[in-house]
């Protein structure tokens, strides 16, 4: 039943840009942010809130830009290498960050991401400063498309990746390793008495979440065609947490539902008002107060995790 719903939702997504071409960019960006929010949601399961995941989002996006500058033009290679770069940054940062909990974890993630942000903005000769770096149109499986065609191809590739990665992450969350995350949230000392190394559980989750954020960042870089330091600013990290919570951290679809909901609301709202943050802020507070399981909680039958 749920598989049917999910398939139907993906099919509708696939058809939407044919009916309304302007939606294609919005949806690509929503999927990209959905990946990153999924990364944040993985950590939220363990009760860890990261206000710094925009760093990995930006790291991979910059990775694409740097690799493209270095002469790599294959889409697949760029994507894999940049996600690996994001995961690597995640492994380095995670190796010391997962020792911390609660507010300290949040603060340290913020500190690391702001160092990254400031470096991107200030090292003008390397990163182009606040002007950012261009992301050229790559070749997809050896075929070089014109830019509008590439954007279409990018959308369907992202959609495919969403299903593929979504299923994998769902499997991860349902594995003992994934269940250990919720156990960390409930009582991590009990977990250690059971002989499960909390540090390793969290580090694996951290690297996975960084890679997911990186995947999102790489797709966003391709879709926008430019990478700027603002990708890594702390408010961007805040938005990722917001999307994760809005959708609900209970399952994989939550992050993507949250991202779609927010991006569609955004495109609808900008036609009426420019006070977009006001709407998001109110929505966020209402969702947290009245629907702690997120929008996804409305559909889920089983008991799902909430904050």
């Amino acid at each position: 039943m749920r598989t049917i719903f999910a398939t139907l939702a993906v099919l509708i997504l696939a058809v939407l840009p044919v009916a309304a071409p302007w939606l294609q960019f919005v949806l690509t960006l929503a999927i990209a942010k959905g990946f990153a929010a999924l990364g944040v949601a993985v950590l939220l399961r363990a009760g860890l809130i990261s206000i710094g995941h925009a760093m990995f989002f930006a790291a991979s996006a910059y990775g694409v830009a740097f690799l493209a500058r270095a002469g790599i033009h294959d889409f697949g290679l760029l994507l894999i290498l940049s996600v690996l770069a994001g995961a690597l940054v995640g492994a380095v940062a995670g190796s010391f960050l997962v020792r911390y909990r609660a507010i300290f974890f949040a603060m340290l993630n913020l500190a690391v991401s702001m160092v990254f942000y400031a470096l991107c903005a200030k090292l003008y000769s390397v990163t182009g400063g606040t002007d950012g770096m261009p992301v050229p149109v790559p070749a997809v499986f050896g075929i070089v498309f014109a830019e509008p065609v590439f954007k279409n191809v990018l959308f369907y590739l992202s959609l495919g990746l969403m299903v593929l990665v979504g299923v994998s992450v769902q499997r991860y969350l349902n594995s003992p390793l994934g269940h250990a995350l919720s156990a960390v949230h409930t009582n991590e000392i009990r977990l250690e008495y059971l002989g499960i190394p909390v540090w390793a559980v969290l580090l694996i989750a951290y690297v996975i979440s960084a890679a997911l954020a990186g995947l999102g960042g790489a797709i966003a870089g391709f879709a926008i065609g430019r990478v700027v330091p603002d990708f890594a600013f702390w408010t961007a990290s805040g938005h990722l947490v917001l999307i994760a919570v809005l959708g609900g951290i209970g399952g994989v679809p939550g992050a993507f539902i949250g991202a779609l909901f927010l991006e569609l609301l955004h495109s609808a709202a900008v036609t009426v008002t420019d006070s977009w943050n006001l709407i998001v802020g109110i929505t966020l507070i209402v969702v947290i107060m009245f629907m702690p399981q997120g929008v996804y909680g409305l559909f889920a039958r089983r008991e799902v995790s909430s904050l």
Binding site: I51, L108, A111, M114, V115, V241, L242, I288
Partner: protein, 299 residues
């Protein structure tokens, strides 16, 4: 070399003093309410906007320019009186006893709302009113020119540290606050009105943030995005000092000020990185900050 460094130091310390006002409010609110208010930076910039508006009004009516000093103080009191009780009663109170992600997200939502409200009310242009700074003039020692206003800022920061310490150690309200910080339930059970303490402490935090914003108007002006920038800096300073530590925030702003001077002097392009790098180093060595104390792990 000293001639180059001392004005630079004064400049950095003056901006560190401004951040200190925001950070000490943040730290105070955290220690009493145990909520990290992500919207704190917005209250700083709101204080700045209100102060700039009143100062510009004074200038346009050609009233006595010295009134603008009163205006700076008044705008901080005004913002605290309106936003303090309002935010504490409506949003922050709801998050007591909830998990950190919930607290951070609710105040992040508030931050988004306040940022847009400021944009709607004050527009996107930057405000700049330097009458108070010009009135105070400059001071020349050994051929180096100092802005008196900057010295005033540093003096004010010292005054706030001493004032807060006196308030907490030597007044009835301060003792009540200490009691609530030490053991909230016990304080409640012996009849302390904790709700009142929460409102007062939160409003005091808002006052300090707004005061910082108001005092910043004459030197650096107010522009959109200031709230977000101030928030992370205040956060960094509060974290270096140890969340909940007043003197810690003061020492931390000194460290951040000096770190910036060193960065400007050695690697000018990296001055913006200095505060966060300092925060990172301190938190990695002492995650609870320089003056903070370790809390036990939950069992």
């Amino acid at each position: 070399m000293l001639n180059a460094i001392i004005p630079l130091l004064l400049d950095s310390l003056a901006s560190a003093a401004l951040i200190f006002f925001a950070a000490v409010g943040l730290t105070l609110v955290f220690s009493v309410l145990r909520v990290l208010n992500v919207a704190h930076g917005s209250l700083y910039s709101i204080g700045g906007y209100v102060a700039a508006s009143i100062c510009l009004f004074i200038a346009s009516r050609q009233l006595n320019p010295y009134l603008s000093f009163a205006a700076l103080l008044f705008s901080a009191v005004f913002v605290a009186a309106i936003f303090g009780p309002l935010i504490e009663r409506s949003l922050v109170r709801w998050t007591y006893g909830k998990s950190e992600p919930v607290q951070i997200l609710v105040t992040f939502g508030l931050f988004l709302i306040l940022e847009d409200l400021q944009r709607m009310i004050f527009g996107v242009q930057s405000f700049y009113e330097d009458a108070p700074m010009r009135l105070l003039g400059t001071l020349t020692i050994g051929g180096v020119v100092y802005l008196n206003y900057q010295i005033l800022l540093i003096g004010m920061a010292l005054l706030v540290v001493i004032g807060l310490r006196l308030l907490i150690n030597h007044t009835r309200l301060g003792r009540l606050i200490t009691a609530v910080v030490t053991d909230r339930e016990m304080a409640q059970s012996i009849g302390i009105d904790t709700n009142r303490i929460f409102i007062l402490a939160f409003s005091l935090g808002v006052f300090l943030a707004a005061l910082g914003g108001a005092l910043a108007t004459p030197t650096s002006g107010i522009a959109p995005g200031l709230g977000a920038d101030t928030m992370v800096l205040a956060f960094a300073v509060a974290a270096i000092g140890g969340l909940g530590q007043i003197e810690g925030a003061a020492v931390a702003s000194l460290i951040v000020g000096v770190a910036r001077v060193l960065a400007i002097y050695l690697v000018p392009s990296l001055d913006a990185v200095a505060p966060y790098a300092a925060m990172l180093v301190v938190l990695l060595i002492r995650p609870y900050g320089l003056f903070g104390s370790m809390t036990a792990r939950r069992i």
